[in-house]
């Protein structure tokens, strides 16, 4: 789905820089609904992974301390323009999101 993530990957010299924003509420489970006063259930990304042409390059375990609509940037060597970077996330409810970018 196009709305899950914004991702771009740019090559400069030998280093590729990836910048991504994942659209996710990152609810901690300790916030209260202002109208009902009830706790909003935890809903947060737990695992992320980034792949270059299908090979994993960076992965992550996240908790509720990562901000809403998480921003994530990282760098790696060994890629060329036209290669594909893919980010996949999985949240605590088992939902997943994917974003792909061709390195420019």
């Amino acid at each position: 789905m196009a709305d899950e993530m914004k991702i771009r990957a740019k090559l400069s010299g030998s280093t590729t820089t990836v910048k991504a924003i994942m659209y996710h509420p990152m609810e901690s489970g300790s916030r209260k609904d202002k109208e009902t006063g009830e706790l909003i259930p935890a809903h947060f990304i737990k695992e992320v992974k980034a792949e270059l042409n299908g090979e994993i390059i960076i992965s992550g375990d996240w908790g509720t301390g990562v901000s809403k609509n998480p921003y994530w940037s990282f760098e790696f060597d060994g890629a060329k323009a036209g290669d594909t970077v893919k980010i996949t996330w999985t949240d605590n409810l088992g939902e997943t999101g994917v974003g792909e970018a061709v390195i420019k």
């Binding site: 916030r31 695992e47 994993i56 509720t64 921003y71």
Partner: protein
């Protein structure tokens, strides 16, 4: 068939053992388990212990780029880098957060030991980074004054 049954069985056992060994190493180094022990803790000390146990922390080689003053604790930009080689992972904690452990990033292949992220800070606190490299743990911290706390 020109191979003996015994040789065939030996061969199978051997490759089986390699597969198991390979999987164990893979799980340990590339995908350590999601750190429930650290996540569940509500105080910094126990959360840190849940992450690294009693391993000694070396206070060097870790650079944190975080704002001295953050107007919005709900989204504080943080960059962590290190000049260490063979970095296995970088983890972030906020020492005053209701759940101090925030995240951990694992580095594979030709990735650089660098991460840029945005975190929640409930109040003015230290952002702490832990780096595991060559089996040793290094740490650095950066004080952030939060003028409006993040809903964490």
């Amino acid at each position: 068939m020109n191979f003996s049954k015994r040789k065939f069985i030996q061969g199978s056992l051997y490759s089986g053992a390699i597969a198991i060994l390979g999987k164990a190493t893979f799980l340990q180094s590339a995908f350590a388990e999601w750190p429930t022990a650290a996540f569940d803790e509500t105080e910094y000390g126990p959360a840190l212990k849940g992450l690294i146990g009693d391993t000694e922390l070396l206070e060097s080689n870790v650079t944190i780029d975080a704002p001295a003053i953050a107007e919005n604790g709900a989204t504080v930009p943080v960059k962590v880098s290190t000049d260490l080689d063979n970095v296995e992972w970088i983890s972030l904690l906020g020492d005053k957060n209701p759940r101090p452990w925030i995240s951990r990033f694992y580095f594979h292949g030709k990735s650089k030991p660098f991460v840029s992220t945005r975190i929640k800070l409930r109040e003015s606190s230290n952002v702490v980074a832990i780096v595991k490299a060559d089996g040793k743990l290094y740490t650095g911290k950066s004080a952030v004054k939060v003028t409006a706390g993040g809903c964490v």
